[in-house]
């Protein structure tokens, strides 16, 4: 693209998987319970946001985009991503608020976070395997 910056997308995806597991662990107050510290969520969001964006960028690099009008396309692509996120999060926040009001929220939220941590570890393991053994870029 505009910079000659490239990292293996599988390694980026592995870190994204670990960030999912990190957030699930943080949701369970893991850092407060085990280490007695609470990482600043703003710093974590910023750092992981950079990595997630980097993952998206490596996927885009694999697409062989037409250089004609690339900057305008990239900007519109990002605006589209943001609009999609706002729409999705609006729905998710509404459902979460309803979920939070139910009596079953506490146990189900714990279970959901443990499953989320599991999914994050699986994603990280899968991407590390793909980095080691190769295979099609997904």
């Amino acid at each position: 693209m505009f910079f000659k910056l490239h990292v293996d997308p599988h390694l980026v995806d592995a870190v994204i998987g670990l960030s999912v597991a990190y957030k699930a662990f943080d949701n369970l107050s893991g850092f407060k319970t085990l280490a007695g510290i609470q990482p600043d969520p703003k710093v974590a969001v910023f750092g992981f946001g950079l990595i997630h964006g980097f993952g998206l960028a490596t996927k885009l690099q694999a697409l062989n985009l037409n250089p004609d009008g690339l900057l305008a396309n990239l900007v519109s692509f990002n605006v589209g991503v943001e609009i999609g996120q706002v729409l999705a999060l609006t729905l998710i926040l509404a459902v979460m608020t309803l979920w939070r009001r139910t009596a079953a929220f506490e146990p189900t939220a714990r279970g959901a976070n443990v499953l989320l941590m599991l999914a994050g570890f699986v994603l990280a393991g899968q991407q590390v395997a793909r980095y080691i053994f190769g295979g099609a870029v997904s």
């Binding site: 597991a21 662990f25 949701n27 369970l28 107050s29 893991g30 407060k32 319970t33 085990l34 969520p41 939070r100 929220f105 506490e106 939220a109 714990r110 443990v114 941590m117 599991l118 570890f121 699986v122 990280a124 393991g125 899968q126 395997a129 793909r130 053994f133 295979g135 099609a136």
Partner: protein, 132 residues
């Protein structure tokens, strides 16, 4: 309460550790037992063969020129071609050779029939000739 703080009571230390380690162990099992056999043709635990997930794996597609001659396979499996050994019993020497003579001629003498079949037709001994 800040928006990011959890309204729920934190998990007990023991169950938190158990949940985290459990998630890591189950994740390792899923990766080693299901993802490696299905996606990468590796089966370190033998679970892929046991569950049949190994069959999900397929070798990478090979692009073949459509105009190429004599190239039929687009995937290369490491399974050898099947080879069979077929036995065809031939029976006795020249069994059924008297069909060559056709007609309703019958030979009383097997030796004559064999001679007739082997030799030229003109040399055939007619059935009504008596051997003295």
């Amino acid at each position: 309460m800040s928006p990011n703080e959890q309204p729920t009571r934190p998990m007990a230390k023991g169950s938190l550790i158990a949940a985290t380690l459990g998630a890591a162990v189950v994740a390792a099992l899923i990766v080693l037992g299901a993802i490696l056999p299905a996606e990468f043709h590796k089966d370190p635990l033998g679970l892929g063969k046991l569950s049949g997930l190994s069959r999900l794996w397929a070798p990478a597609d090979q692009k073949v020129d459509a105009n190429a001659v004599g190239v039929a396979r687009t995937r290369e499996y490491d399974i050898p071609f099947r080879s069979d050994v077929v036995e065809i019993p031939l029976g006795g020497f020249l069994d059924g050779a008297h069909h060559d003579l056709g007609g309703n001629k019958r030979f009383r003498d097997h030796g004559a029939a064999r001679n007739a079949a082997c030799g030229p037709r003109v040399g055939a001994v007619p059935a009504d000739v008596d051997h003295r």
